[in-house]
């Protein structure tokens, strides 16, 4: 759930940090460096990976074969993170990512997960009634499109490679990247040109 921590939790964190510093396990600089690094991670990274895959067949092949290597090829530090898998949407197949057991999320390429991704409602319902959940995000898939829901785990993280929207022929990679948002990379909505419908 979202919300502010209690005073007790804040005090507990500071006591833990103080003890870890006393024992030489970490410094304040270590902590601040990680905060800065996590702040830099954002869905723009995932968006750039998608845009490159839309324009570069060799990169697309790498992305689908080894998401971790494809992220590293974009300069993302993946050391210590679980492997990244990428799910390819097709005209008759849409992917939706959830973590039913907790909140596993490819933070290195998408940044901090949104609260709704971690909510009990999303975790419970994405696998039971994905089309109803998609509708709550304003996404209506044509009836012929199958939905494949994929569960992220502590050992494997997933991201969606959506289909390139029609009408973007000749666009540069940078311009294409501006079309792609976090929600597209999780699969709760679809990239589209401004003014076009989500289901187009």
């Amino acid at each position: 759930m979202a919300g502010e921590p209690t005073a007790e939790s804040i005090a507990l964190l500071e006591k833990l940090v103080a003890a870890l510093k006393r024992r030489g396990i970490m410094t304040e600089e270590d902590i601040q460096a990680r905060v800065a690094s996590a702040d830099r991670a954002s869905p723009e990274t995932g968006a750039r990976m998608v845009a490159r895959a839309w324009t570069d067949p060799a990169y697309r092949e790498l992305l689908l074969r080894d998401g971790t290597a494809a992220a590293e090829a974009m300069g993302v530090r993946m050391a210590g993170a679980p492997p990244l898998g990428v799910l390819e949407d097709k005209p008759d197949l849409h992917h939706l990512v959830v973590c039913t057991l907790c909140s596993c999320y490819p933070r290195a390429v998408l940044g901090y997960p949104p609260h709704w991704y971690k909510s009990a409602a999303y975790r419970a319902r994405a696998v039971r009634e994905p089309r109803a959940v998609l509708a709550e995000f304003g996404t209506a898939l044509p009836p012929g499109v199958k939905v494949r829901v994929v569960d992220s785990t502590a050992d494997y993280r997933w991201m969606v490679l959506p289909m390139r929207p029609a009408g973007t022929e000749g666009w540069t990679e940078d311009r294409l990247a501006t079309l792609v948002t976090r929600d597209h990379l999780v699969g709760v909505s679809l990239p589209a040109l401004q003014g076009a419908t989500q289901a187009a």
Binding site: M1, A2, G3, E4, P5, T6, S9, I10, L12, L13, K15, L16, V17, A18, A19, L20, R22, R23, I25, M26, D30, I31, Q32, R34, V35, A38, D39, G80, P82, V98, T100, L101, C102, S103, Y112, P114, H115, W116, K118, S119, A120, A121, Y122, R123, A124, R125, V127, R128, V133, E136, F137, D151, A154, D155, D183, V188
Partner: protein
């Protein structure tokens, strides 16, 4: 006997069947959240804390805490439990 799913095993759970997903809930993490995440990340790289240890010690929380604490408060409880269990810090440090 019907098997009762563990509290964290929410996939398909009817308990939240009628709870809407609130897509507008997009608040960025606060300073506490970021600090917990940063401490976890340093401990992971120092080989003192694995993702499985984190998960297990969140799943072990009492249901009241599991559904009552904020997301990163649960992470903190898990980090503390593992650091105490490994003798990295003591309860006296945290008292």
């Amino acid at each position: 006997m019907t098997e009762v799913p563990l509290k964290h095993d929410l996939g398909g759970s009817p308990r939240f069947r009628c709870t809407p997903v609130e897509p507008d809930d997009d608040a960025p993490p606060n300073d506490f959240d970021k600090r917990v995440d940063a401490v976890r990340s340093v401990l992971r790289d120092k080989k003192l804390f694995t993702v499985d240890e984190m998960r297990l010690n969140i799943e072990r929380l009492h249901e009241t805490e599991y559904f009552g604490l904020t997301y990163y408060e649960k992470w903190l409880r898990s980090v503390v439990a593992v650091m105490v269990a490994k003798g990295v810090v003591s309860w006296e440090d945290l008292a």
